[in-house]
């Protein structure tokens, strides 16, 4: 349920403590921080960008789902991903094989990049998020460098391409399916579930919520 929040213009602007003001990152419109109930979403009146979308019990859930995602990623890395058999011949590939395939030719940097996109960066993000949110979930003071950690996680967000990889695998499978028989391994299904978990986790992750909580506990700690 979205509610457009409007703030009357600047008359009492000076009275409002800065901490209660927010601006839309997209269009710079100025707003007063509203009360947003869980599952409600606060959006910018001008450009429509969603600014706040808190969830109840978000932190615990975020940590749990991130941990799940990490475990699933470990499984996906160490179990067979795809098995191809055609005319009695047999070939198999793991996710790591898929990433490293470019290193056989002259395109080793691309192997590094692909490995980063589908393995390293998602895993790193998950780790950083757990690092940041876990103390918040337990209502403890945040870990050192939490802010840097969460900021890095946020910066890396566009570069985490695990779900794109899954679609890519689907396309590739369709391409080969006519020619040979492909057996998906444990890693295949695990990776699919991983992507679902990531999307689920993402729905709980509201930046405003985390930053506020971080801010509050930092101030509390300072105080």
């Amino acid at each position: 349920m979205r509610r457009m929040i409007q703030t009357p213009p600047s008359d009492d602007l000076a009275d409002i403590p800065l901490i209660q003001l927010r601006a839309c990152p997209h269009c710079d419109a100025l707003y007063r921080l509203p009360e947003v109930k869980p599952r409600e979403r606060a959006a910018c009146s001008r450009c429509g960008a969603v600014l706040m979308a808190p969830r109840a019990g978000a932190f615990t859930r975020i940590v749990a789902l991130s941990a799940t995602a990490l475990i699933l990623m470990v499984i996906a890395l160490f179990t067979p991903f795809l098995d191809l058999s055609a005319a009695g011949m047999h070939s198999d590939a793991s996710i790591w094989d898929a990433a490293m395939t470019f290193s056989n030719s002259a395109m080793t940097p691309l192997s590094v990049a692909v490995a980063a996109f589908i393995i390293v960066i998602p895993a790193l993000r998950l780790g950083l998020i757990i690092y940041t949110v876990l103390p918040l979930a337990n209502k403890r003071p945040p870990a050192p460098y939490s802010r840097k950690a969460f900021r890095l996680a946020d910066k890396l967000r566009p570069w985490s391409m695990a779900e794109i990889f899954v679609i890519g695998v689907a396309v590739a499978l369709v391409k080969i399916m006519g020619m040979a028989s492909v057996t998906p391994g444990v890693a295949f299904w695990t990776f699919g579930i991983l992507v679902i978990v990531l999307i689920w986790q993402d729905s709980f992750l509201d930046r405003e919520q985390v930053w506020s909580a971080l801010d509050a506990s930092l101030h509390k700690a300072a105080a």
Partner: protein
């Protein structure tokens, strides 16, 4: 500082009630727990179902890739190579293979491992799929789980598949024509293979492991003999040219055939030794002799040419082969007065073929031969082996009238048996002689005489007069018929009868009177009448006979002769009768008969007899000379046909339906089939390379 009253009791800190455990912990934690459980479960399962590790050593690891190469048993993948490493001394390669547990329990000490690589041999290409899919390891073990072992030594060469057959050892004198994997053939079907040839310990014979597949291994007894069927055999003998090609495989890579020669042998043990003979006849005859091949070497020295004698030529005694020629050479007689070069022939006589007992030694054989030389004048001489090719053999014969001689046991290198003059028939001179004799036959004169006789006969037959005979006989017959159908026949018959009766009466009455001459003339007149109506009645033959008799009494021998000739002419006229003219039978016969009448009339005149007689005697002479010639001809033809037969069988050996041709054609046909198959495979691969991938 003033005294302050002691502070009052402090307030305890009251903490809010703690929520119960399960209220505190959100249900979301189930999710990671499940994930963790799955992860652990998967890890444990994959570790425990990993399989057992076995290590196999090889000389090199060509085609073996860690993580890729599979281990197969009966073509089913049961494991994979995990890693490839070196032995501590770098002398061998150790391949670590992980095998599924349920199969690993059967891998015991007798398990064998080898690498399956593509093999191209004349048998065909085996393991072709390894070209595309990479080499793989194959293993062989029995299905009895005994004590497990994990260190093995790999075989460099795939072993013989002896699971369902009997293994035997074959011994060959010369392994030249046998290659590994060559077939063993029984009655034309392939029942087994040989392995790789190896030398025995002292390098004198070649040993082969062979396996005969079940159920054919039941045929093996101690009386089974093996012989070499490699390549093809061409022999030229009295039967002509013979080509023996067994199969395409044996043509190129050799093959061994066996047969159980006689029954009553005992079953064999696995690994039993068998000797492989050079050819079938050797093998078969060896049943009746023992297996030992003791040879008695001898020499003989000759003057004169030994052209036509070669190494391996047979040594025969009374027609039976008892040995062979091993060596040909020369000896120089360095006597200064009569220096000469003489021919030296070394022989080898099979001790058993001499008929001595099985226990006989070479010395005993030698003494036996010495006795024969001394007492029975046994000598050695060259003889013709094959008339056709002019090859020679050595013959041992007893020559009762030869000078006494002995076996020179001290001669080097072998004891020398005295020689006798050669008995060589020169085919060329024989043939030449036969041809000369044929040439000497007076064939041309015979031909001339025959031609002359035939000419005369032809003239006679071509004479229009002769030609007219059938038509005239036919017309005579027509007249006779007319007469026959007339009403006056019976009357004529009775008249005839009465005439005959009255003639008799007149004859009797005129017995005394001198009316004989009158009678004769009367008879002659009646003759003419009667000849006219000779066949007037049904009793024609009788009348004809009477007439003949009458004519005979009247005209004598000449008429008889003439009648005979006329008879024969008539017989030949039979042939003439079959020409269209004689379709009108009556006319033709009457014509003939009238002609005969005319001739007879002439005969009466006595004029033409001589001509006819001359003609007839000329014909007779011609016929006689033809006869004589014809009597000679069969004998000549016989001889010629005998020679032609001989040549003919030889020639027919090349004929289109001869065995030689058949064999050659079948061999060529199988070559052609193989080539066609390869071409079509290559073409289909070229057309559709995906078919290899997709298997379509």
């Amino acid at each position: 500082m003033t005294d302050t009253p002691p502070p009052g009791p402090a307030e305890m800190e009251i903490r809010p009630p703690r929520r119960r455990v399960w209220q505190r912990i959100s249900i979301i934690w189930l999710v990671p727990l499940v994930a963790l459980a799955i992860a652990v479960g998967v890890a444990v399962k994959s570790y425990s179902s990993r399989g057992t590790l076995i290590r196999i050593t090889f000389q090199n690891a060509s085609g073996i890739e860690a993580g890729q190469t599979a281990l197969r048993y009966r073509d089913v993948t049961i494991g994979a190579v995990e890693s490839v490493g070196f032995a501590p001394d770098l002398g061998k390669v150790i391949v670590s293979v992980r095998v599924a547990d349920d199969i690993a329990q059967y891998i015991d000490r007798e398990a064998e491992f080898w690498v399956v690589r593509p093999e191209v041999s004349v048998r065909g290409i085996s393991g072709l799929d390894t070209v595309l899919s990479g080499a793989y390891l194959a293993g062989n073990w029995d299905n009895i789980p005994t004590e497990e072992q994990s260190e093995f030594e790999g075989l460099e060469v795939p072993p013989l598949q002896s699971q369902n057959g009997t293994t035997i050892t074959l011994e060959l004198r010369d392994g030249n024509q046998i290659s590994a994997g060559a077939p063993i053939i029984y009655k034309g079907i392939e029942v087994g293979n040989v392995g790789t040839p190896q030398l025995n310990e002292d390098g004198t014979t070649v040993l082969l492991d062979a396996v005969i597949r079940a159920p054919y291994d039941r045929m093996l007894t101690t009386n089974t003999r093996f012989w070499d069927a490699s390549g093809f055999n061409i022999s030229v003998g009295t039967g002509g040219l013979q080509l023996d090609v067994r199969s395409l495989a044996s043509l190129i890579e050799g093959g061994i055939i066996f047969d159980t020669i006689v029954s009553g042998g005992e079953p064999i043990q696995p690994g039993q030794d068998f000797f492989v003979f050079e050819d079938e006849s050797d093998a078969r005859s060896s049943v009746f002799t023992s297996g030992s091949k003791l040879e008695l070497p001898l020499s003989m020295v000759l003057d004169g040419s030994i052209e036509g004698l070669s190494e391996g030529a047979e040594v025969r005694y009374k027609g039976a082969t008892i040995g062979r020629v091993t060596d040909l050479g020369t000896i120089a007689e360095t006597d200064p007065e009569t220096p000469s070069i003489r021919m030296l022939i070394n022989l080898e006589i099979d001790v058993n073929k001499l008929g001595l007992s099985e226990m006989a030694t070479v010395d005993e054989a030698r003494d036996f031969v010495a006795t024969l030389v001394r007492q029975d004048n046994l000598r050695a001489r060259l003889a013709t082996a094959s008339l056709f090719t002019g090859s020679l053999m050595v013959e041992l014969v007893e020559q009762p009238d030869a000078d006494p001689a002995t076996l020179d046991v001290d001669y080097q290198p072998f004891p020398m048996i005295p020689a006798a003059p050669a008995e060589i028939t020169e085919f060329q001179t024989t043939a030449q002689g036969v041809i000369n004799r044929i040439g000497g036959l007076p064939v041309e004169e015979l031909m001339q005489a025959a031609i002359g006789a035939l000419n005369s006969v032809q003239v006679l037959a071509g004479d229009p007069e002769t030609r007219r005979v059938p038509s005239e006989a036919a017309s005579l017959l027509a007249d006779v018929r007319a007469v026959l159908t007339g009403d006056s026949v019976t009357g004529t018959l009775s008249n005839l009868n009465t005439t005959t009766d009255s003639l008799r009466r007149i004859a009797q009455q005129l017995e005394d009177g001198q009316a004989v001459a009158n009678l004769v003339s009367a008879i002659q007149k009646a003759n003419t009448t009667l000849t006219g109506v000779e066949s007037a009645s049904v009793e024609f033959p009788q009348i004809a006979q009477q007439l003949r008799q009458l004519a005979a009494t009247a005209n004598g021998l000449q008429i008889q002769q003439l009648a005979d000739s006329a008879d024969s002419l008539l017989q030949s006229a039979d042939g003439l009768l079959s020409n269209p003219d004689t379709q009108r039978v009556p006319g033709a016969v009457s014509d003939a008969l009238s002609e005969v009448a005319r001739v007879l009339a002439e005969v009466r005149e006595g004029g033409a007899i001589g001509n006819v007689n001359e003609a007839i005697s000329a014909a007779e002479q011609a016929a006689n000379s033809i006869n004589l010639a014809a009597q000679d001809l069969p004998a000549l033809a016989d001889r010629a046909s005998r020679i032609l037969d001989q040549a003919g069988t030889t020639v027919s050996g090349y004929g289109s339906d001869s065995r030689f041709n058949v064999e050659l054609v079948t061999a060529l046909r199988s070559l052609q089939d193989a080539a066609t198959a390869v071409t079509s495979l290559a073409r289909s691969i070229q057309r559709n390379p995906n078919s290899l991938l997709l298997g379509r």
